[in-house]
Symmetry: C2
Subunit: 703 residues, 2 copies
Amino acid sequence: MVKRDVIQLITPGTMVDDRPNHAKTNNYLTSVVLTSAGYGLGYADLATGEIETTHLVDFDSTFNELLSLRTKEVVWSGALTDQQKDYFAKANIIISKPFKPEQPSSETSFVTQNLTNEEERLSTSQLIDYLVATQKRSLAHLQIAKTYEPSSYLQMSHVVKQNLELLNSNKTQKKAGSLYWLLDQTKTAMGGRLLKQWIDRPLIRKQDVVARQEMVEALLDDYFTRESVLDALAGVYDLERLTGRIAFGSVNGRELLQLARSLKQVPLILATLRQSQSKTLLDFASQLDPMQNVAELITTALVDDPPVSTTDGGLIRPGYNDQLDRYVDVMTNGKRWVAELEAKEREQTGINTLKIGFNKVFGYYIEVTNANKANVPEERYQRKQTLTNAERYITPELKEHEHLILEAENKSTDLEHELFVKLRDQIKQYIPQLQKLGQEIATLDVLADFAVLAEKNQYTKPTINEKDQNIQIVNGRHPVVEQVLAKRDYIPNDVLMDESSNIFLITGPNMSGKSTYMRQLALIVVMAQIGSFIPAETAKLPIFDQIFTRIGAADDLISGQSTFMVEMNEANQALMHATKKSLVIFDEIGRGTATYDGMALAGAIIKYLHNNIHAKTMFATHYHELTMLDQTLTHLKNVHVGATEKNGELIFLHKVLPGAADESYGIHVAKLAGLPQPVLAEATTMLHQLEQDQHSASTKNTE
Amino acid sequence: MVKRDVIQLITPGTMVDDRPNHAKTNNYLTSVVLTSAGYGLGYADLATGEIETTHLVDFDSTFNELLSLRTKEVVWSGALTDQQKDYFAKANIIISKPFKPEQPSSETSFVTQNLTNEEERLSTSQLIDYLVATQKRSLAHLQIAKTYEPSSYLQMSHVVKQNLELLNSNKTQKKAGSLYWLLDQTKTAMGGRLLKQWIDRPLIRKQDVVARQEMVEALLDDYFTRESVLDALAGVYDLERLTGRIAFGSVNGRELLQLARSLKQVPLILATLRQSQSKTLLDFASQLDPMQNVAELITTALVDDPPVSTTDGGLIRPGYNDQLDRYVDVMTNGKRWVAELEAKEREQTGINTLKIGFNKVFGYYIEVTNANKANVPEERYQRKQTLTNAERYITPELKEHEHLILEAENKSTDLEHELFVKLRDQIKQYIPQLQKLGQEIATLDVLADFAVLAEKNQYTKPTINEKDQNIQIVNGRHPVVEQVLAKRDYIPNDVLMDESSNIFLITGPNMSGKSTYMRQLALIVVMAQIGSFIPAETAKLPIFDQIFTRIGAADDLISGQSTFMVEMNEANQALMHATKKSLVIFDEIGRGTATYDGMALAGAIIKYLHNNIHAKTMFATHYHELTMLDQTLTHLKNVHVGATEKNGELIFLHKVLPGAADESYGIHVAKLAGLPQPVLAEATTMLHQLEQDQHSASTKNTE
């Protein structure tokens, strides 16, 4: 019996998925520790070696961060309540126990070297221990852990990111229809992953945003530079994942050549950037290390088209190793000798159809058809096999050369594998530099992508304004909706908000475009703060610190959760945490309860936002009565979406206009739908009565 | 070159899908003609041979019928507007042009023999022509076309059926979660299809409903009869589709045996039913023709486990045909002779390892290992093949017997196929009887299914009341939701409606169970009118002629359709077509527009239903203000769903209670969600103000 040791444990968080359509997605293994001071959270992508860590104050923010990382597995030390376990189960996150390796790995001890915070150090160590204990293979590509603070980025809860459809469409839970889907025309898988990370964590420092904008602008302004860069990027493979495979020892000859070919693109990129007039591009170029020595190592050693297998020979270029060349010589000469033997035997026997063949069972043999069997020199030839219409023979001389040829083949295959492993280990020394280069190329890829989109979709550079929180978007568009609609059908809208209009109260019927208008603002803010240009004619934007949303979800009959409780919880997040610098998007607050009840809550929430928070707020509502709040709340402004009638159908103009919406839209549609006349008459009478009551009530209120 | 004629055209409507998980679904090819008198509609399921036809007045009702049939292809003669074409495209229905066969088929001329209506005759002829022209094979299983009137059934538009989730869940568009999913525990594919047809077309004549109920009751009351019937049904294959395959000539031996085995179950069923005390079951038994002659025919002819192929022999039972038996004799004798030859040759040559083998290239041969080659009688043996370690020989005697054996094999295979085809053609004569038997077994299957469900889920028999339209359901349950929830968590509810409470106005927050309560009533009505027992303690129900619904759909951002227009159109259907005998379910009418506007429309629609239609109506609303209508509308009754607080969470009691809902639910939840105190205080003040205004307004109204 052969004893089988466990070679490697594959868990959801440590699975390296090499399928091409998964290349643009990070798979993060996460690790959480809980101390008296709070939570430590570390995460790693085993495929790329990237490791980051942070510390958080409570379970909710930790869980939210885990959701944002879309982790499939968390290594969790410490207790969990049943409710918390339930959250993880619903989010499809597997909880794994910490797992220590039998002996600590010296190879990974550097990972935590820069960590000073106790929670961060503990969670990262726990993460590394788990990786070492489960992987049982080289992890030389793990990078030094970086720390980050969620509050150093534009903060959005996981729910907000979902509501805004940043990475997935709400409807399908797929990429199509999301902001990421729109923005991702990156050329490399590395760029795709980096773009996703940027969308997850937009910037909040003006100079960081401006630095990205400058690169985008330089690439946008210089058509030839941009096109050359894009061409070169298209030839770059996934350096980050290739370095992972080099570390694991699972890389093959073809992949090493992919690495070499990718590296050969870097001088092209450098040359292009250096020809540019832009200081930004020149600066970027100056930090790129082309690493041509590594490319050289590979192309010198390997043939142009090596096989997938690294153990069956055919990998190493002639001239690379003397001993190998000698083996090849023996093989080549041996085969030439065999060919010459065939000619000689034909001549000697007079059998023109005599031929020498090879198969795996008998080795080399001489084959003679039955018709010529009489001419075979029986004394020299030894019969080996009878076929229906031919006989096969061997000779001692033939077998002797066969032995020489096969021995050389065996030895050369072994030597090739040996040389290949040596080459791989040599390149392993360059992993940190390769990873740095990969990051730089990914950055260039995303910024070039932004430039391409800016040109293709006519995006403009927003001016970032730190003086006040005023918003000035002229003819802004919803970036995703404008792509899905034919572009000429899309009606752009301004967003002009200053101190006097902190709150936009938006009225109008369903489907008229209220939601699109609000989402449009949020998406433009996210795009601006990741450094992208934006869908607008001109724009001046402040930096936002947080985005809050409350956007209606579809009712769910059977799940039975109180959606109104969810609604109130989401609204409360904004009331508790929003600042003057935040953006609040509230769609139809109060709809889940009775009319006056919901109306009263909506009104009270608006007043609180208005008087206490001063955040920029868009508040869409069916409660037409709330439009009278503009008489008492000086920073609130009514807007509505216009509509008109055409050929017996009501057409939404999708144009946001000042003032409150017309209140008799519904009765108008009912008439177009052909409802009986008595119903229409009755409804009109009732509406007038209600309006009159409301008017007298509000007059009373202001008395 | 071989000239290839078109053998058969496969179109979406003529595809026979034999995969087991499609067996419970009919695939209907439909055909429509338009004359000055209106529309004729015919449909056929090619797999089962079932054909029905009807005539309709306009495009909308025709299109609705096509949707209900879930047809994938309609043969349409006459013009279509672009908009109509668009409807078909959106519904994934392919429009095919009529297609006449080169010569009319006499085999199918009987199909239309009973049709008197011109449109029905034309559409059915067009359907048959299309089938004959595309199929180019026997269609002997097509049944005589039956006519039906949509108004002879409980009428529901396709949208209503969707809203009520009769066949598919709205969320997933799959069977799971639908009424059909709940009810379908049928044992046979025929039963599954029939149940689907019943759900699509519930009955409207009391005696028809009662007839089904009696069977269900008889089966429910007699445990042993029910279990024996179920056991027997489990052994019944799809008779309808088997007859289709017999007609097509594509049936194989295994399938014929399935038919025989299915038929063998019929005497078991008969015996069981005849032992029962129930006159209903005895009557049912008396019409069943067990068709044992067909079963006999098959089992006499075929072996117990025939191969799939019908051309390679091994099908026919020994003793069935003399000539075949003789061939088999020759084969058997020949093989015995060969076995004896082996023994004889071993003795003669003294080679103990000598053996006789057979392969397809050389036929029979004698094999001798190299070690024994010296002992071979070279004069008798003729060398045929040399292997590495053995030689193979033949003798003239061996070849002669080989010839006899192979010839007998060939002839017997041909004869077996001939006998099989004869058998198949013989059974083809019984197709109409087999189809009738299939229908009867399907009926028994569904009714036994109802009995099983009644016992398992504690359903009761509703009393059908034709005197008035009063509803008396005591402790009714939503059949699907109660299964999805653990049963003990389900709170049953009464529905007690008479003349004085034609309209239930239901108030209460989202997710409290308003929709479940309304859907529960609709599903109980459908279940009762298909003859099933229902989830209630006791129930007395009238017969409804139509069901109308307006149930909110999820908003769709990008499709951009005016949902409010859809809402008004659906509401208008009820206002136009509902009668005193109809059921109307309106959920949140008016939500798609501004508050007062929607409120006025909802109020006017209620008044119209109340004063002009008198249909039994459930109307759920957030417009708390509408609850005051009970002061002026004498047939309207307020009900609400109760709620209570527990451990800081608001718990819905799911109990429907008389009177209007509490209006401060929302503020209560907001408090539990922890909204800031000033927000709660402000909301409470505003709510009081609104209520006060409303009160003074309504006082004014009634003055």
